[in-house]
């Protein structure tokens, strides 16, 4: 059963009822008309195909924003672009593609204009064209070197990409659609439901193969992973358990942590260790097995040091801060740093080394460290100072150390006044200390 193709007459059909009879839906818009020549067959867009802003609805669904009223103009630009591309050498086309900046491809009109301008900069689209060509906007815009275009004012060289993988630079922001956000509460609820019914699939909420700015209220991109593999299940269980703990859903968390325990031992090697440690940590949270407030601070100090060495985050922050400090200290002969939260002083060895390596020699370096008193009344700050002093001696940096114990609180301020550090509450001085030079091997603290 094949429907016969209606026999269209090659002249303009202006009577909508004829069109309707022929199986075409008509619309009142005339913008979709083909060029007015006697041979045009008219295919009208259906009614209701114009959405907000007069956008062509059919194209909008496919990802292209073109006003119905602009359709003919866009068609014209396509023809223009084709012509201009036809004149480019074959090689030139693909180099154009890699070396030019591409704007929002959904905005067909603008994209076409920018492509045409790339190939033929002399074509004037009006004021907007200049901004497209503005070099500040893009790192490389090259045009093809046409030797046959006599009116080509500038001869730009066409860049050879050294590697064929050198591709476009995308301008983020307006040029690219934003990712659709998953309703995160929604996805959490889903995860919980999933585990309670212990199905064999697990959810990983992620934007998957790409995204597109759809204006629906909520899009739920979902990827299912076949989690027959225990390794995957383990990871998902750990995540779900951590989430449950965070939400204080301890019944669920407890159920999950038991499963995790089983799965963890089914693994081998590293996965087993990591999973077991995580499971243990989660269990401690769930069963509230917190270690007593230990008076032994040395353990936590050691942990701090290890953490500092292992994870780059703190180190990096210190690195950046030290850079700023070094810049501020440029050219100065005596410098003073006040550290208001001296823990282990992990930031300062690096700074001191950098100062030692300064061309022209290191400045005299004074460090004032302020930290909370230790619970066990040991003077751990002294130890820190001692180590730093030793380091300073080894790298030949003239070093002063001043340490102050400060329990913290509102309204307290610390001031330096001509080498003398004052701790005050608002403007009232409470403790004043003065700096002592290190000529023996002990940093000295004097307090009044």
């Amino acid at each position: 059963m094949k429907r016969e193709h209606p026999n269209l007459h090659p002249q303009q059909i202006s009577d909508p009822s004829t069109l309707a009879a022929a199986g075409y839906s008509t619309s009142t818009s005339t913008s979709a008309m083909a060029p007015h020549n006697g041979k045009a067959k008219i295919w009208e867009e259906g009614e209701g195909h114009q959405a907000d802003g007069g956008m062509d609805e059919l194209l909008a669904v496919l990802g292209y924003k073109v006003r119905s009223s602009d359709m003919a103009e866009v068609a014209q630009k396509l023809e223009q672009l084709e012509e201009v591309m036809g004149h480019a050498q074959e090689d030139g086309l693909s180099h154009l593609a890699s070396d030019s900046v591409h704007y929002n491809p959904s905005d067909l009109s603008t994209w076409l204009e920018s492509m045409i301008s790339e190939l033929n900069p002399n074509l004037n689209f009006g004021p907007s064209a200049d901004s497209l060509l503005a070099p500040a906007e893009s790192s490389t815009i090259t045009s093809i070197d046409f030797s046959d275009h006599k009116h080509h004012q500038q001869q730009k060289l066409f860049e050879e990409s050294s590697s064929s993988d050198y591709d476009l630079k995308v301008i983020p922001g307006k040029a690219v659609f934003s990712q659709t956000q998953i309703d995160s509460r929604e996805s959490k609820r889903l995860k919980t439901d999933l585990y309670q019914t212990s199905s064999s699939s697990s959810l990983s909420s992620a934007t998957t193969l790409g995204s597109f700015g759809i204006s629906t209220e909520s899009t739920r991109p979902v990827v299912l992973v076949d989690s027959q593999e225990n390794g995957i299940r383990l990871v998902h269980l750990l995540m779900a358990c951590a989430e449950a703990v965070q939400e204080s859903n301890f019944t669920l968390a407890e159920a999950l942590v038991k499963q995790i325990g089983f799965l963890a031992v089914s693994q081998a090697g590293v996965m087993r260790k990591v999973a077991t440690y995580f499971a243990e940590a989660l269990a401690r949270r769930i069963y509230k097995l917190c270690p007593q407030n230990s008076t032994d601070h040395s353990l936590s100090d050691i942990l701090q040091i290890h953490f500092y060495e292992t994870c780059p985050y703190l180190k990096f922050a210190h690195f950046t801060a030290n850079q700023a400090i070094l810049e501020a200290f440029e050219g100065k002969k005596r410098v003073h740093v006040i550290d208001f939260s001296m823990n282990q002083g992990m930031q300062w060895p690096a700074l001191m080394q950098a100062l030692a390596l300064r061309p022209g020699g290191p400045p005299a370096f004074r460090l004032t460290g302020i930290g909370p008193p230790a619970h066990d009344n040991t003077d751990h700050l002294q130890e820190v100072g001692w180590k730093l002093a030793q380091l300073a001696e080894n790298i030949h940096v003239e070093f002063d150390m001043l340490l102050a114990l400060f329990a913290g609180g509102d309204g307290y301020r610390v001031e330096e006044n001509n080498g003398c550090l004052m701790l005050g509450w608002h403007t009232r001085p409470l403790i004043a200390t003065s700096a002592w030079r290190l000529n023996t091997n002990q940093p000295v603290v004097g307090a009044a």
Binding site: A32, A34, S94, M115, V223
Partner: protein, 344 residues
């Protein structure tokens, strides 16, 4: 150079609605930028220009979708489209793979087009098409995101199609209630149509039941130029030059276009006589420059005693099924829905 001639542009403009013309011309020009003369492909730019949509577990017009990782080794994803129950507004995660609840539910494994190099399952044009198929055919659609050329040549897409077929066939939740079997149809346009044929072949050889093949403007070729290829070269969005490029990108390096992947009933092809091949619906657009080859394909099936229906749409161009603004679109949709309907 074909396609850059002013006369040709006007011709293609006359036979399709203006917005269709804009859509397909835009693809044509964008694709020109992506193919490099040395056979490499600007994948980065291709992905940037491709308008994509995410899967959406919230039903839109009664259809929801979600992505599944079918094979982690090859990163093979597929997007699954299902009808939402009347009641549920937001399927729960466990509802995504809940058993289909009809006596017979067709499951259409869909292979998107793109000449083996372009597009993905999440391309807006194909996401839209798959959603339509769900509503029209009351089917579940599985859109396979197969590996593309030139990075992945023959037989990668066929392998991926085969993997997907096995996966679909083994999902208990896709089984129709009537016989506890999955009622599988293969469908595809352009290169997807080509993949349909070859995956169906593999299915026959290994005993998985495929109930029918749907080929929309399937991509076939051959070493010699056919009459339609010569006559229509460059006239309706497509040139022989670009066709050749895509075959070179897909076929094994030293092969020509008579390779059976490209030309299944050509000099190096083999007859399907005596083979229990699925029934086929072959849709041919009269203004597609390779329509000769598509007709030859249908005839090849017929000669081998296979059940084939050829739907020849005289004035249709490539991509006519992407927009519902022409009669051919509706004709084909009706045919497809009848083809997979359980009453057939």
């Amino acid at each position: 150079m074909a396609g850059s001639n002013g006369v040709n542009l006007n011709e293609s403009k006359r036979v399709v609605p203006l917005n269709t013309w804009v859509l397909i011309s835009n693809f044509k020009l964008a694709y020109n930028l992506l193919r490099r003369p040395d056979g490499t492909f600007n994948r980065h730019l291709a992905e940037f220009l491709d308008r994509k949509v995410p899967a959406n577990a919230n039903p839109v017009d009664g259809v929801f979708s979600f992505d599944v990782i079918i094979d982690r080794g090859t990163s093979l994803l597929s997007r699954i489209y299902r009808r939402a129950d009347a009641q549920e507004s937001q399927p729960n995660i466990v509802d995504l793979e809940k058993p289909v609840n009809s006596e017979v539910v067709p499951v259409i494994i869909f292979f998107h087009g793109g000449s083996f190099a372009h597009s993905s399952s999440n391309s807006a044009i194909y996401d839209t098409l798959c959603r339509r198929l769900v509503g029209l055919c009351k089917a579940v659609v599985v859109s396979v995101n197969y590996r593309r050329a030139p990075e992945n040549r023959y037989p990668c897409p066929y392998d991926d199609g085969w993997t997907a077929l096995k996966w679909v066939n083994s999902r208990t939740w896709l089984q129709s209630k009537k016989d506890s079997k999955v009622h599988i149809y293969l469908a595809g346009d352009s290169s997807g149509g080509n993949i349909v044929h070859h995956v169906a072949l593999r299915a026959v050889e290994s005993g998985i039941d495929v109930l029918g093949n749907i080929l929309l403007n399937p991509m076939f070729g051959g070493q010699e130029r056919t009459e339609s290829e010569k006559r229509l070269d460059g006239k309706y969005f497509v040139t022989l030059q670009d066709r050749d490029w895509y075959w070179r990108a897909f076929l094994p390096e030293r092969e020509d276009r008579d390779h059976p992947a490209c030309n299944p009933f050509g000099p190096k092809g083999k007859s399907l006589e005596g083979i229990k091949f699925p029934k086929s619906l072959v849709v041919v657009a009269g203004l597609d420059l390779v329509h000769d080859r598509q007709i030859t394909y249908a005839e090849g099936l017929k000669k081998a005693g296979q059940d084939v229906k050829l739907l020849y749409l005289e004035q249709a161009t490539i991509g006519f099924y992407l927009l519902p603004n022409n009669n051919y679109f509706h004709t084909v949709m009706d045919e497809i829905s009848e083809f997979v309907s359980p009453n057939c």
